[in-house]
Symmetry: C2
Subunit: 370 residues, 2 copies
């Protein structure tokens, strides 16, 4: 068991969550504020390893659903979170032994910790993707047999919905529609699972990872060493099948954004020199999905692409990118459980309209600093 008990921890975690959000996932800021208030009030978030749980423990995911812009404007309500937990325990007919994040990247890294701290329920160190994705079916939970529904949805006015869908793709549509009909943001309890399932299906240790990533960037700044260098040392772990590279460093020469079919589409073009044709591009569909160097793919979904401010190494969401900014682009292989054929059928390149087969970053690219 590990305790998150300082403001610095929470800020580090939020920074790491934006890194793993790969441009999307929403801003963790409101969850971060809420969690910091819990500390002031004498509470703390307890983080446990999945292996500490008995196989027959009962675990649920807590997540916010809504447009990122709405989430940012929306304060977290203690009453809503506690009521959601109470309703979930009643609906599932089980006391909840632990919470787990479905999506560690972005805002949904914070909500299980926020509720966990408030209600005294531990949070499992792991999640369902090790990054951010826009749909309920795009989790290791869903891919490997733990469905998102039956799920419980609640908004701050007390409007409650229980969805029991035949597939997670349909659950996604239903949940998204309920959210839109309430004109705002809702919280939900999803993926009811056993302790055994949490052990087998989660991408492991991703809360610790947000904390480590955030810390590493902060320490490098404080010691004026190269934060990307330090980050790559942290992330590279070939024995565990994890590979990280700096893909490119340069200046943003064009950013295009468009909201279409409820997605944030866009492309960012980056150039290392002056006045030349752009050398490097990153395509955005909510998240950064494919990075190309002179047209050649160097990292593609579900592997992670993160864009950092070149000086501070602050991870940047897609909305934060602007013309003229100097950035460094990092590629990071997804966890092995995210790269299996059954997983790639749900969130591989073709599921996002990218007409190429998945190939891992270790095969596609070398470190641009070498």
């Amino acid at each position: 068991m590990q305790t998150i008990a300082t403001d610095l921890d929470i800020k580090d975690m939020a920074r790491g969550a934006v890194f793993l959000g790969t441009g999307g996932g929403g801003d963790p800021y409101v969850g971060e504020l809420y969690l910091r208030r819990q500390l002031v009030e004498g509470r703390s978030a307890q983080i446990i390893k999945a292996d500490e749980l008995p196989d027959d423990a009962f675990v649920i995911s807590i997540a916010g659903v809504g447009a990122p812009t709405v989430i940012v404007e929306h304060l977290v309500s203690t009453r809503t979170l506690l009521r959601l937990l109470e309703m979930s325990e009643k609906y599932y007919g089980r006391k909840v032994d632990a919470l787990i994040s479905a999506e560690i990247g972005g805002a949904n890294s914070m909500f299980p910790l926020a509720l966990g701290a408030r209600a005294g329920v531990p949070v499992i160190d792991g999640d369902g993707m090790g990054r951010a994705f826009p749909h309920l079916e795009m989790t290791t939970f869903s891919v490997y047999g733990c469905a998102a529904s039956p799920c419980v949805l609640l908004d701050d006015s007390g409007n409650a919905t229980y969805v029991h869908a035949t597939t997670d793709r349909i659950a996604e549509n239903m949940v998204r529609s309920v959210c839109a009909s309430l004109g705002s943001m809702i919280y939900g309890a999803f993926y009811p699972m056993s302790g055994r399932q949490a052990k087998d299906l989660a991408v492991r240790d991703t809360i610790s990872q947000t904390l480590e990533i955030g810390r590493r960037i902060r320490h490098a700044r404080e010691s004026q060493s190269d934060p990307v260098e330090d980050l790559l040392v942290l992330l590279n772990d070939p024995a565990a099948g994890r590979h990280a590279r700096q893909l490119f460093m340069g200046r943003i020469v064009d950013v295009r954004h468009e909201t279409r079919d409820g997605w944030h589409w866009g492309e960012v073009l980056i150039n290392s020199g002056r006045g030349d044709e752009p050398e490097f591009s990153v395509e955005i569909q909510n998240e950064y999905l494919v990075a190309r160097h002179r047209g050649r793919t160097v990292t593609v979904v579900p592997d992670l692409i993160s864009v950092l401010d070149a000086e501070s190494a602050e991870p940047l969401t897609a909305e934060m990118l602007s013309y003229g900014q100097r950035v460094r682009v990092i590629g990071y292989s997804a966890a092995p459980i995210m790269r299996r054929p059954e997983a790639l059928r749900v969130f591989g390149p073709r599921m996002f309209g990218i007409e190429e087969d998945f190939r891992g970053i270790e095969e596609l690219s070398t470190d641009s600093r070498l």
Copy 2:
């Protein structure tokens, strides 16, 4: 207790339901077919008066939700209806003693009878409006304190949703969104109520009324008497606060239809002579909402407006109106429970953007045949 046991009864009821649908409410045809199949299989629909129920009986409304065009293309599934009943009993924690229609006008007149016949549950002779309306909050149940939610929704693929909204206006939005997300039609159980509430809140005897209206029109055709004459004799009951008039007879000289904001908007213009300016108009918002003679309102919502084929007296839905058709327009006062101030605040003229106060047909018009 009354038994609906012949094809003729069902056809008469469907005809009467279109009359009370005041142009909207959807075509009862699929429900009619289903109900007729039940008779062939040896079942029948049992209709009871609300007063036959104990006060502590448990009653729910069964309704189809979806675009009328989808409903017509959609066969009624026994499995879905029976499962909806089973899920409702489990969710509400009560055995269902009787069903009631929320909306007697149009397609939703048939679904409670269809399930009632199949499952052997009696159906109360009454409904929540005595006509058709497009929203869940537009029922006497809702106006007088029996909320539409918690409600149970189910589609034919087995996708289930339980909605518990803070108001029926919000429930309407949520239910409509769930329906849209499933791309089709759903069935729902709404307005869980006691026997006492059914007695106090329902518009009474409206199933009998559909049967009587349909019969009266058929008999008049068979005996070659004037069906409208006979219909007005049936409907006029000043002692019970009910008034019916022929508002106009003429030829349709223009029909405009438009689908906007999910509503069917339109206007039909009718003329008694040739080549003159139109004398009579009916405005459509899903239902026929206001009838005007030379610009002066002669019947307005919630009072009922029905358009009949001039020869056969067949009631016509808004979609069926066409240029050149000879029609007779009937106005019919809503039940007194529908005309109280608290009811008019929910479905009076201004709720449909008609900028006038409600006045009853008995005050606004005389019979055009006099």
